[in-house]
Amino acid sequence: MPSLANPTRFLDLAGRLIPWLAALTAILFAVGLYLSFFVAPPDYQQGETVRIMFVHVPAAWLAMFGYTLIAIASLGTLIWRHPLADVAAKAAAPIGATFTLVALVTGSLWGKPMWGTYWVWDARLTSMLVLFLLYLGLIALWQAIEELGRAGRAAAILGLVGAINIPIIKFSVDWWNTLHQPASIVRLGGPTIDSSMLGALAVMAVTFTLLFVLLHVMAMRAEILRRRVRAMQQMQVEHAALAET
């Protein structure tokens, strides 16, 4: 692992991983869509709208996974000052924000026909909205502070403080009365979803996870290159100044 945490080795590994990840994600996406639309049956209560679950639930999981990744990377930045830790955190923020937005929008589109409303200020929906705002805050913080070290430390503090929202999202449906249904997959006593739907959901969850990893590796590579470009541009300016004197 320590050798992979070297930026140059990471770039080398990313170059070899990306084509395989992209191919595997595309194949699983096709399989997942087939299972979601042609194999999984309609729900006895929710009818065909249950098919929204196959994109909504994996997006919501990845939204929380992304922030957990940022919180762990933030520890790497603050404690070990590892050069890849804040690269990983910075690269994960827009991806996590996108998956959170997908979870919010698809949840709204599922809520209207089932609950009769697009939005309600219940604990699960509100805590997911807070997660989206935290992601936007992290992106804004990275843009606002020019010096990379300071930006990384400030974002790491926000990343760690905001991590308190993750258990709140997870347990919101148990701690408060919510319109959102309680946990039906990751729960003590096993999933309550029928196995005919669980297969499609599992394939879509693996697909979304691979998609997240693929986009994250690509975004990390771009960020490492951006830092190299920035360092080289500074050297170019220094050389020009020396040549003038």
């Binding site: 639309f37 009818g47 065909e48 929204i52 209207k112 690509m218 951006r226 080289m232 050297m235």
Partner: protein, 67 residues
């Protein structure tokens, strides 16, 4: 495509938004990656090298890093 019933518009909108959002994100990440590669190639073509590349093998490596 199976008959999606009276709520077909909601189902298709959910999938459509998911694809659009993920495609937009992937487009920006790929475009950024290509832009940084191009900038790096331009700088290297001008003979600019990173300090670590210039000193590789000549100086003692930092603690915990590969040379």
């Amino acid at each position: 495509m199976p008959d999606l019933g009276p709520h077909a518009a909601f189902i298709l909108a959910a999938y459509g938004f998911t694809f659009a959002a993920v495609a937009a994100l992937a487009f920006f990440i790929v475009a950024d990656d290509r832009k940084q590669r191009q900038l790096l190639a331009d700088l290297e073509a001008k003979g600019i090298r990173r300090r670590s590349a210039n000193t590789a093998g000549a100086s003692k490596p930092a603690r915990g890093r590969k040379p």
